[in-house]
């Protein structure tokens, strides 16, 4: 997630990523309610949200943020409607998993999915790195240099949707987007080399996740919340220490 987050943040797709996170959440809620695979419905909802936002924003000439502001509460509303539809009380722990995430509910199969997904994402990103690198610098210039930028942006949105959905079990639908943005935003405070950013972001993501996990075990608090709190603290520290920000302040003096 930390890896794909770099592209989402740098391509200014945060609004779409944010909406998709909650789309995945609504989808997973529907999956639980209808006793189908939450992963499948999650991916469907996340990609549905992305496919919905992009073209509508283009056609209606609205800022993606405007659409996001409308789609985000809609997805949350849908998620809660689906969750109230869950018939049996016995399922409430499953509901809680979707909401808050739970490391205990992760199965070996989930873990294999995640590792495979990470490897596949790495491979895909390696092959289209050149295009993504140019688009992240400036989309218009990339287009002017003969790169057809749209498919690559859709690719990132699609990958983000899948990665979000598969990580949903761990952090839960309410907090998932923090895991997408925090590591990328953290490392972007420091590095002036895009390649290092891409390597460091997932490492920061993993470190904060594991730290959050231990905090949650020791303090007996929800895993998702702990991970997000830890990653936010790390981001705040990065912000304070950031040489880029300090330089900016010096320039302003």
């Amino acid at each position: 997630m930390g890896l794909i987050g770099v592209f989402v943040v740098r391509m200014r797709l945060s609004a779409i990523g944010y909406s998709m996170s909650h789309g995945a959440f609504a989808g997973a809620a529907l999956g639980v309610a209808t006793a189908t695979n939450p992963l499948l419905t999650g991916v469907l909802f996340a990609s549905g949200t992305a496919l919905f936002i992009g073209p509508i924003a283009d056609k209606a000439r609205l800022h993606a943020d405007t659409i996001t502001s409308i789609v985000f509460p809609l997805n949350m509303a849908l998620a809660f409607v689906f969750l109230t539809l869950v018939p049996e009380v016995g399922l409430s722990s499953q509901v809680a998993n979707v909401l808050w995430g739970s490391i205990i509910s992760m199965t070996t199969a989930d873990l294999i999915y995640l590792v495979t997904l990470f490897a596949a994402t790495l491979a895909i990103l390696y092959f289209v790195w050149k295009e993504l690198f140019a688009i992240m610098f400036n989309r218009k210039l990339a287009e002017a240099d003969g790169i057809n930028t749209k498919p690559f942006i859709y690719l990132i949105i699609f990958l983000a949707g899948i990665v979000i959905t598969f990580s949903l079990k761990l952090v839960g639908g309410l907090l998932i987007y923090a895991l997408l943005f925090n590591p990328a935003s953290t490392i972007l405070q420091f590095s002036e080399n895009m390649r290092k950013v891409v390597v460091a972001s997932p490492i920061i993501g993993m470190t904060t996740t594991v730290t959050g996990l231990f905090v949650s075990l020791f303090l007996d608090l929800p895993v998702g919340s702990c991970i997000v709190i830890v990653s936010t603290i790390v981001f705040a520290i990065a912000l304070l220490l950031s040489p880029k920000r300090r330089r900016k302040e010096e320039n302003e003096k």
């Binding site: 050149k130 140019a134 240099d145 003969g146 790169i147 972007l188 895009m194 900016k248």
Partner: protein, 266 residues
């Protein structure tokens, strides 16, 4: 307002000749968005190795004209052919042969890209999908940077460079692909006093040595007027004059945004 009619100055043949490098026929912007000034019924033929100045007041449609030529603004009526190819169907291919430097391009400090990263990007379209830049591509990028005089800045973060240095890096990026056409949008803005003299000289040199067809959008034309062989005046989205710099002078001398023409000639 300049009182020339487009039809009078643009009686070009319908079929592109070999030396025609790009041709606009009855081109109008279809939508009139707030972001862009529309162009209206523009006819324009530019031949190989021409150095053309496009002048006109702010929001006259000069940038729209440039971005219609390289197919960045695909919503237009009429036909645009570059290298004999239709820009609507071969846009990507055409853009691989056009170097474009947009207006007021400034990179924020702290952007995680070095100058050579940015120059190398100019070659990405040509390198092609699924291929990575080779050592040869890097050498080519460095060679261009040397020509422009920014090779010593190659490994510095681009956001830390001055406005003039960034402008040169952007010019190097546009040239890295070995283009046949160079489109420059206000290339003399953002320049420090040193570069103000260097950049026009550099553009002239490139135009002459590399036989580059060059189109410069500007309101500051006194730097290089004697080297340019054609001036196009755009006003209200229309081409209102198209001719030699000498003929342009009496027409634009009352023009508030092109007074530098006057300065140069008197």
């Amino acid at each position: 307002m300049v009182g020339f009619k487009t039809e009078e100055v643009n009686k070009q043949s319908k079929r592109p000749t070999i030396e025609t490098i790009f041709k606009l026929e009855a081109v109008s912007t279809v939508y009139e968005g707030a972001r862009r000034t529309a162009i209206k019924n523009v006819n324009l033929t530019v031949k190989q190795n021409e150095l053309v100045y496009v002048v006109g007041p702010n929001a006259a449609g000069k940038t729209t004209l440039l971005e219609t030529i390289n197919g960045m603004l695909p919503t237009f009526k009429g036909e645009v052919r570059v290298f004999g190819l239709n820009v609507k169907t071969h846009g990507r291919q055409i853009r691989c042969g056009i170097g474009y430097v947009p207006q007021d391009f400034m990179v924020k400090p702290g952007e995680p890209y070095t100058a050579i990263d940015v120059v190398l990007m100019g070659r990405y379209g040509q390198i092609g999908f699924l291929h990575h830049p080779t050592e040869k591509d890097k050498a080519k990028a460095l060679e261009i940077m040397k020509l422009i005089g920014v090779d010593e800045l190659a490994n510095r973060p681009i956001g830390k460079l001055s406005g003039g240095q960034q402008q040169k890096v952007m010019l190097a990026r546009a040239l890295a692909k070995n283009p046949k056409i160079l489109l420059l949008d206000e290339p003399f803005s953002n320049l420090d006093p040193d570069s103000r003299g260097q950049i026009p000289m550099l553009i002239t040199k490139l135009h002459q040595e590399r036989k580059l067809t060059t189109v410069i959008v500007t309101h500051d034309i006194h730097h290089m007027l004697d080297k340019c062989n054609r001036v196009i005046v755009v006003s209200g989205g229309r081409v209102t004059f198209d001719g030699t710099p000498e003929k342009a002078l009496p027409l634009v001398e009352n023009h508030p945004h092109t007074t530098s023409l006057e300065t140069h000639y008197h």
